[in-house]
């Protein structure tokens, strides 16, 4: 039985540079939040891939289920008028 058994799983998010969102890069196990950040630095940012790291315990994430994909995202499916390409504008109108 390894001493690491029971360490929670953390999902790791890295901000590549200022002005960008944090993006999910992978996961790791750590005994606590602080050590998770340190481990994430070693595993996921060996080449200046980031300026900021978030770690979140995987069991703290609430997700939509893929099984519910259709009903969950259906309400936006038939609202094409939310996209700019829905509208016909004559080609010679400038700056629109």
């Amino acid at each position: 039985m390894s001493a690491r058994a029971g360490w929670p799983l953390y999902e790791v998010f890295v901000r590549g540079k200022r002005g960008l969102n944090h993006v999910h890069v992978g996961s790791l196990h750590a005994p606590d939040d602080e050590m998770a950040v340190h481990a994430a630095r070693d595993v996921y940012t060996r080449r200046n891939e980031g300026v900021s790291i978030w770690v979140v315990r995987a069991d703290a994430i609430t997700a939509s289920s893929p099984d519910e994909k259709d009903p969950m995202f259906a309400p936006s499916g038939d609202k094409v008028y939310r996209h700019p390409t829905f509208y016909d504008i004559p080609a010679d109108v400038p700056h629109i």
């Binding site: 992978g26 005994p31 602080e34 099984d67």
Partner: protein, 319 residues
């Protein structure tokens, strides 16, 4: 009124259809999607074996960390060996999205229930081996891994993209090391040639058995978790490597190696498949040593994990 979710038992045929359609459309399967049990099992084995190879792969080169000829070479080698550990971590992380447990996977490696690449069971006799591993072994790994960036399983494909970016540094540092040695003394050039002689054939074996003896390939190709046949990848590697060897000024140890003017590809001599079988089944030059070292790392360093757990407990209790 939302439709109820599909039931994995009642609606299996429908779920299989959705899965097949996703793979056929070159979209990715993600962790919580339904997937055939064989797909999950095969992927866990493939990803675990890949992860184990990265971890065991630290050993042959790690042997030279304390004997590197300069501080520059030592820093480079240290960074490379650290990368291999990182690659192992990305891959274990991907395997865990399929329900595997990494502590259990490590135990399976140490117990011999799961395998790793045959190439790491050969010894590194001189510092030229460090260069040849970067050039040939990492070069072969790149041939294998680039197509896996398009694996149908999302987490594996994403891990491969990270790995491939870093492998490029590995191959270039190796080739540069060899160029430097080839510009040195006769003795250094002889060391490079000797290392090439020893690593060439095992590098070709890295691509696995010939297509005629690779029974699971067809299913893996259909699932999109294998993209090209073993022989096709091996051929690409040979074609890529021959001009690099010429530039370097080394001889590849195969009298049958020749360019076929009709196909533009290289013919090469027969591979000793018995040797590959022997090494895979545990009878290579360093199998026992590699596993013993991995076992010692697990057991002798257990105290560090225990200390981290104790610290977390104490720290958590105080705050």
């Amino acid at each position: 009124m939302p439709a109820p979710p599909l039931d994995p038992v009642v609606d299996e045929a429908r779920l299989q259809e959705l899965f097949d359609a996703t793979v056929a459309a070159e979209r990715r399967i993600e962790p919580r999607d339904w997937m055939p049990e064989g797909y999950r099992r095969t992927l866990v084995r493939q990803i675990a074996q890949h992860a184990h190879s990265e971890i065991i792969g630290m050993q042959p080169e790690g042997d030279w960390l304390l004997r590197a000829p300069s501080l520059r070479r030592k820093a480079v080698l240290l960074a490379k060996v650290q990368d291999e550990a990182g690659h192992g971590m990305y891959l274990y992380s991907a395997a865990e999205t399929l329900g595997a447990d990494r502590t259990d996977l490590t135990d399976r490696l140490i117990d011999g229930r799961q395998k790793y690449s045959s190439i790491f069971n050969y010894p590194t006799l001189t510092f030229a081996d460090v260069g040849v591993i970067g050039w040939l072994v990492d070069g072969a790994a790149i041939c294998n891994q680039v197509p896996l960036c398009r694996s149908s399983y999302g987490p594996y494909a994403r891990a491969m993209i990270r790995v491939c970016k870093e492998e490029s540094f590995h191959q270039r540092q190796g080739y540069e090391l060899l160029l430097t040695m080839m510009g040195g003394t006769d003795e250094q050039r002889a060391m490079v040639q000797d290392a090439v002689d020893r690593w060439w054939w095992p590098s070709l074996m890295m691509f696995g058995p010939p297509d005629t003896d690779s029974p699971n390939s067809a299913q893996s190709m259909a699932w999109g978790i294998k993209r090209h046949s073993n022989d096709e990848l091996r051929q690409r590697f040979v074609d890529m490597t021959v001009p690099q060897a010429e530039f370097l000024g080394v001889r590849l140890p195969d009298p049958d190696l020749a360019l076929d003017p009709e196909t533009g590809r290289h013919r090469f001599g027969p591979i000793d498949w018995d040797e590959l079988k022997r090494v895979i089944s545990g009878d290579g030059p360093c199998n026992a040593e590699r596993i013993a070292r991995r076992r010692a790392a697990r057991d002798d360093n257990a105290w560090a994990l225990e200390a981290a757990s104790a610290y977390a407990q104490k720290h958590g209790a105080r705050s």
